[in-house]
């Protein structure tokens, strides 16, 4: 599959074949060797099943020693950011997955400052990337920017809570938001439909920009188009997470065992877990691109505008200050000269006056 020897420009089999059609394969091989990086942030109140879902999605155990604090401890806690990285390999393809968790979000009685920490974390990652990108050695830039944010919506409410709306509005320009309805086994199918519709309505009402799946290209095959259509219709995804193997109908499935039945995690009729996973996997590249092209560029232009002005201001300030100082110096010199003149005049005048007076007198 490698390119032909440069000396031979013509493939004996196909006249006119140059061979650069192999380029994608080369890129593919290079990137496979390099590996992929992906950063996923999960945000939501405690107890919505975020950690379980992440473990189910990637079939790993990202949180082996987990201590869940009690309510009294939660009262004093502020939002923290915990990033855990795991390297997953599948069929030779390496993925370096970083999951950014936000324990403490939504716990406090007063949640006004909940998301400040999160926003500053996202900005920090952008800042670091910008700094690296503008630096001298650009070979090994580590991309820690948040590519995707799963926002967990509680299934117990009647739609979005005020906190949800406020948070999403604050970060929809910085990161791709994928709203996820957690613990979907709480809802019957009808309730689920109603909740999804309600959430979509509220998102539209508040002009929140969530991540939209790109439409399938017209030259893709029908299956893919159909799949994309299905995915788009199911947003927000209502998921159930579990890593326990339950025996159901003779086979072992991952699921949750209730007295009234078994909820299967990978059954599309029970929940949208498979859809979420498909979306994440097939669109990982797209998520990264949108982060790079849209959010990062937004950030960069904002930052440079702000940062540029600051730098110029400083230079200008220096000059200005110099100029000002010189001007002040001149002014002061003038003043001194004037004062001196005045004093002299006074003295002379005084003398003169007295003299004059005296003379006159």
């Amino acid at each position: 599959m490698s390119k032909q020897q440069p000396a031979q420009f013509i493939n004996p089999e196909t006249p006119g074949y140059v061979g650069f059609a192999n380029l994608p394969n080369q890129v593919h091989r290079k990137s496979v060797k390099k590996g992929f990086e992906f950063t996923l942030m999960v945000v939501g109140e405690s107890g919505l099943g975020k950690s379980t879902l992440i473990n189910s999605l990637f079939l790993t155990d990202l949180y082996p020693e987990r201590i869940i604090p009690g309510a009294a401890e939660k009262i004093e806690r502020t939002v923290q950011i915990e990033a855990s990285t795991v390297e997953i390999e599948e069929r030779g393809v390496k993925l370096r997955l970083t999951v950014v968790d936000t324990p403490g979000y939504g716990d406090a009685i007063n949640c006004r400052d909940c998301f400040k920490t999160i926003i500053s974390y996202i900005d920090e990652q952008f800042e670091r990337y910008l700094h690296d990108e503008s630096g001298l050695n650009r070979r090994h830039i580590i991309d820690n920017r948040v590519h995707c944010c799963f926002y967990f919506i509680s299934p117990f409410g009647h739609g979005l809570k005020p906190l949800d709306v406020a948070f999403m509005k604050a970060i929809h320009n910085k990161v791709n938001i994928v709203p996820v309805i957690a613990k979907a086994d709480t809802l019957t199918l009808k309730e689920r439909e109603r909740l999804k519709k309600r959430i979509l309505d509220e998102i539209e009402e508040h002009n929140i920009k969530i991540y939209h799946l790109p439409d399938a290209e017209s030259d893709e095959d029908e299956d893919f188009k159909e799949q994309t259509r299905l995915l788009k219709a199911s947003i927000p995804f209502s998921v159930v997470g579990s890593n326990q193997l339950i025996e159901a109908k003779g086979k072992k499935v991952r699921g949750r065992l209730y007295p009234w039945g078994v909820v299967e995690v990978e059954n599309p009729e029970h929940n949208d877990f498979l859809k979420l996973r498909t979306m994440l996997i097939t669109h990982m590249q797209d998520l990264q691109e949108v982060t790079q092209d849209l959010h990062y560029e937004n950030f960069r232009s904002e930052r440079l505008k702000r940062g540029g002005r600051k730098v110029e201001n400083e230079d200008m300030n220096k000059d200005q200050i110099l100029l000002e100082k010189e001007a002040e110096l001149r002014r002061m010199q003038e003043m001194i000269a004037r004062m001196q003149a005045q004093m002299q005049m006074q003295m002379q005048g005084g003398d003169g006056d007295s003299g004059a007076l005296g003379h006159h007198v």
Partner: protein, 464 residues
């Protein structure tokens, strides 16, 4: 209290008389038109405190079960001071103003009690109204020679209750969407609460906590109940939920105030409309982790003013292990933080109550419930439940959720007790506080024991 003992027995039968061992157990059955009675199988039992002795002994009065005043085993507890203090607490502090007993007793009418006589060591103050029938001193040790008909009092009282009906006020608190209205509808098997699921887009989450009280009259077996459901939309839904329990606390105290004003009136109604909150169901979100800080704060503030029953909402989110783990953790957290939910340990009246309530407190509470008002066909019968692609969750199936336990607890066994604790403890605490704060009573009431007929006086202070 000067003169209090005189008021104890309208017939001027002083406590001293009662201390005679061959005692004039007073058969006041006929006069006790409005006395509270234990469960129908037992005869009317009247408990009297004999304060001349340091030991508090029960005396059985009434037909059929007259016995010598024995120190029942449970009595031995009363030798310990704490028990006595508990008693005092339950009966009322020595200097507390008299109970308004007729109303309290009205409250107790006719409903089945679960006490038996054997374990009665605690005493209920029964300041009595004027007896309609002259008392006949009957010696305790003798058996009746024939049927007298004293036990018909139960029937009489039951008839009276059925005619007058009774009030019950239940408040539901919790974040929106936890299924409060559905649960209340399921509890009382009727549409007493308008469900928020029918909210359309115009109805948003209110910016502050609102209090909405809706009253219904439901009837069952000839007994009328005026049920008021007090909803608190907006609780815990904002970004900043600080002090969101204050409107609720204010509302509860307002109801106490209303009752107090009525009670203290010179010309007061025969039956004061009771709008006090008897029971507050607090809905805990089934996160599976622990209580939320808001839950803790709310319960800390309100467990002193109202009976709080914590309930785990939407319990079909959790598997059995998760459920038991979560319940354990919640119980522990409540204990560690000193939150006394109903049934409060300090108000257990006797050993039997204590064991029963202990069992409930340590094993069943908080109840993990599922509510539903839709019916489905399961195994040939129609059940209330929720239909999911993986099965039907039956609301009244104990293997699925604990709704049936909650219902039995609130309605079938402890309804009466809820009202009593509210009246005798929470209301009296509020009243004492108010009177102490004001340094006296609002105009219209004189001091203890001297005002409006009937004037009940607490028996305890007389012996001090």
């Amino acid at each position: 209290m000067p003169g209090a003992s005189k008021h104890l027995y309208p017939r001027q039968c002083s406590l001293a008389a009662l201390t005679r061992s061959d005692c004039s157990a007073e058969e006041e059955a006929g006069s006790w038109g409005e006395v509270g009675c234990p469960s129908p199988p037992h005869s009317p039992i009247l408990w009297v405190v004999r304060r001349s002795r340091p030991v508090v002994e029960p005396m059985l009065v009434g037909s059929g079960l007259l016995r010598a005043p024995q120190v029942s085993p449970a009595c031995k507890n009363t030798h310990e001071l704490p028990e006595l203090d508990r008693l005092r607490l339950f009966l009322g502090l020595p200097f507390r103003p008299p109970f308004n007993i007729p109303r309290a007793l009205c409250v107790i009418l006719g409903l089945p009690e679960t006490r038996s006589d054997a374990a009665m060591s605690e005493l209920v103050p029964e300041p009595r109204p004027k007896p309609a029938v002259p008392m006949k001193p009957v010696s305790i040790n003798s058996n009746l020679l024939g049927y007298v008909g004293i036990d018909t009092i139960i029937e009489q009282m039951r008839k009276k209750t059925m005619k007058t009906g009774f009030d019950f006020n239940i408040m539901v608190v919790g974040q929106s969407g936890l299924g409060k209205s559905t649960l209340v509808n399921t509890l009382f098997k009727s549409q007493v609460s308008r469900k928020a699921a029918s909210w359309n887009r115009e109805e948003k989450i209110p910016k502050t906590v609102e209090i909405k009280a809706i009253g219904h009259v439901i009837e069952e077996g000839g007994v009328k109940m005026k049920l008021t459901v007090i909803d608190t939309p907006g609780f815990g839904d904002q970004i900043n939920n600080e002090n969101c329990w204050e409107p609720i606390e204010k509302y509860i105290n307002e109801q106490y105030e209303k009752f107090l004003k009525e009670e203290v009136n010179i010309a007061r109604k025969k039956r004061i409309p009771d709008t006090r909150v008897h029971c507050c169901l607090y809905f805990i979100s089934p996160t599976g982790h622990s209580l939320r800080p808001l839950d803790l704060e709310f319960m800390k503030h309100l467990s002193k003013v109202v009976n709080i029953i914590p309930v785990i909402a939407k319990a079909d989110t959790m598997t059995l292990e998760e459920k038991s783990e979560f319940k354990q953790r919640v119980r522990k957290e409540l204990e560690v933080n000193g939150i006394e939910f109903y049934p409060q340990k300090e108000f257990d009246e006797d050993l039997e109550d204590k064991t029963e309530n202990d069992k409930i407190r340590q094993e069943s509470m908080p109840f993990a419930v599922v509510g539903s008002d839709k019916e489905y066909q399961v195994n040939g019968k129609r059940v209330l439940g929720r239909k999911t692609p993986w099965g039907i969750i039956e609301v009244e199936n104990l293997n699925h959720c604990e709704f049936a336990l909650l219902r039995d607890f609130v309605i079938r066994t402890h309804l009466q007790d809820l009202k009593e604790v509210t009246h005798n403890i929470h209301y009296e605490t509020y009243r004492a506080k108010r009177l102490n704060d004001n340094g006296g009573l609002p105009p219209g009431e004189g001091l203890l024991g001297t005002v409006l007929p009937p004037v009940p006086a607490t028996p305890c202070p007389s012996a001090e």
